[in-house]
Amino acid sequence: MKILGIDASGPMLAVGLVLDQMVAADFMWIRPRTAGSHLVPWIEQIVNEFGRPDAIACGIGPGSFTGVRIAVTAAKALAYAWNIPVKGVSSLQAWAMQIPLGHRALITTELRGSAFYAGYYQAARPQPTPLMPDMAVNGSLPDAFPSDTALYVVGPLSETSAGLGMAGPLARPLTIALLGSSVALLAQTALIEGHSDTAETLAPFYGRPPAITVATPGTE
């Protein structure tokens, strides 16, 4: 099975191809906010090289609202045009595919002020195990998050000592990439077993409502 994997939720834009469980191609660029211009040309390049995929895997977030939307929208159009299955996966779980086995990692993305998105994963095969559901964080991690465990921190929270400190004294930074092939490999089992989404039902996971729709205290 030839699976195209795409993700635009985080600091990188990623498009990859997995061919019979082997990574055939990975395009990745650490330059956010460029998905609108680069996603479709990269897919075209991969299709010209390897032919049409049999299925599409798409990172649905959480992360940049706009980035997530671009990936989901492109996946919908292509799955429809090619009449192939599509599967949405957690962008943070896809990123966690690269954690070294035997380790845990807090995957973070879209840090704005003290707000970000986080997922907590245990490396495992064939896919990382979520230790917490992916969530929107405002200022501090949930009480249930173990602050006394050795773990890696991935993403923008790992770039400052204050950020690392939030994850506890035993937190260490880890630089790994969110790859299109990871998205494809994460979705692979579901796609092979026929548990795909449809092009219509594939939906972004934003993790937060649009700011204006949230009533500020005292207004309602």
């Binding site: 479709v40 939307r69 919908k76």
Partner: protein, 329 residues
């Protein structure tokens, strides 16, 4: 050539199939206006989220309505701008990915120029013409010499005509969008003793200004809270008078034999009657799009797209939406 048009520049997700630029095969629209009404205006993030989930059902819907398979589509036309970035990105991304998937050409079109092409669905366009675009976001007068050849003669220096209606409606306790509400209320009285100002920007200019009348409406509504219908009528008269004055001036200055109106405010009956009157006086033919195609739709996008496609214009896959996209460039 069958062109699939896609429009997502604001709060309406629309698709349409038009053959050879003038034969509308099907059109469909999903609007998130009711959601935005709760917030008193379009919320960009909400609009973008709605577009994402609406676009595929709308595209599938127009094809089904026209009894077409996706392989029957020869090209895609999509609104490239101007508009809300997040909203435009959904249409542009979907269009590019669909064109890649179906291996057909794609072209980007200017939203306002497309509004003029709502007229092409009625009868063949005749040039040189004068075009007046009036909507909630724009008030623009253009000299339209041929397909793809537009020159802006005048535009609003502040608010759009439709914005004056929106703000006026709000001051009178009416719903958004304000145009139809103002028109309904205004028609409930035969005349008005009240008057609202028409901005004078000089006797030569073809520009418009509606911020003064907007402010005056708000003040009048406060001073005369029980004369709402008369205020609505006065507002309508002031806006229509300003539009008519510049159209009259432009027809004196430029050799146009046809006047094409476009945009949501064109649905206003008072405006239509006044334009017919001017056209009669100046000896030109006036054209209004069918009411259902005055507001945002994709039929106009597909129509304009056809005329650009046959000239060889294409949207590259790396193109981003043009949020600020001056008309005629």
């Amino acid at each position: 050539m069958r062109v699939l048009g896609i429009e997502s520049s604001c709060d309406e997700t629309a698709a349409a199939v038009v053959e050879n630029g003038d034969r509308l095969l099907s059109t469909m629209l999903a609007s998130s206006a009711a959601i935005h009404a709760q917030y008193g205006g379009v919320v960009p993030e909400v609009a973008a989220r709605e577009h994402t989930m609406a676009i595929l059902p709308v595209v599938k819907g127009v094809l089904a309505q026209a009894h077409l398979a996706m392989q029957d589509i020869d090209a895609v036309a999509v609104t490239e701008g101007p508009g809300l970035l997040g909203a435009l990105l959904v249409g542009v991304t979907f269009g590019k990915a669909l064109a890649l998937g179906l291996n057909i050409p794609i072209v980007g079109v200017h939203h306002l120029e497309a509004h003029l092409y709502a007229n092409a669905l009625v009868e063949p366009l005749r040039f040189p013409a004068l075009g007046l675009l009036v909507s909630g976001g724009h008030t623009t007068l253009v000299l339209w010499e041929d397909h793809g050849q537009l020159k802006v003669l005048g535009e609003t220096r502040d608010d759009a005509a439709g914005e004056a209606f929106d703000k006026g409606a709000r001051a009178l306790g009416l719903c958004y969008p304000g145009g139809p509400e103002i028109e309904r209320l205004a028609s409930s009285v035969p005349q008005t003793a009240l008057s609202l100002p028409v901005a004078h920007l000089g006797s030569q200019t073809l520009d418009f200004s509606f911020s003064g009348v907007k402010t005056a409406t708000v003040e009048l509504a406060r001073r005369e809270p029980h004369r709402k219908a008369e205020i609505a009528k006065a507002l309508q008269i002031a806006v229509v008078t300003a539009l008519a004055r510049n159209v009259g001036r432009a027809l004196d200055q430029y050799p146009a034999h046809d006047l094409y109106l476009a945009g949501g405010v064109t649905a206003n009956q008072c405006l239509r009657e006044r334009m017919q009157q001017i056209a009669l006086e100046k000896g030109v033919a006036v054209h209004f799009p069918p009411r259902q195609y005055c507001t945002d739709n994709a039929a106009m996008v597909a129509s304009l797209g056809y005329y650009k496609l046959i000239k060889g214009v294409r949207l590259p896959y790396n193109a981003s939406p043009r949020v600020n996209y001056p008309l005629g460039t």
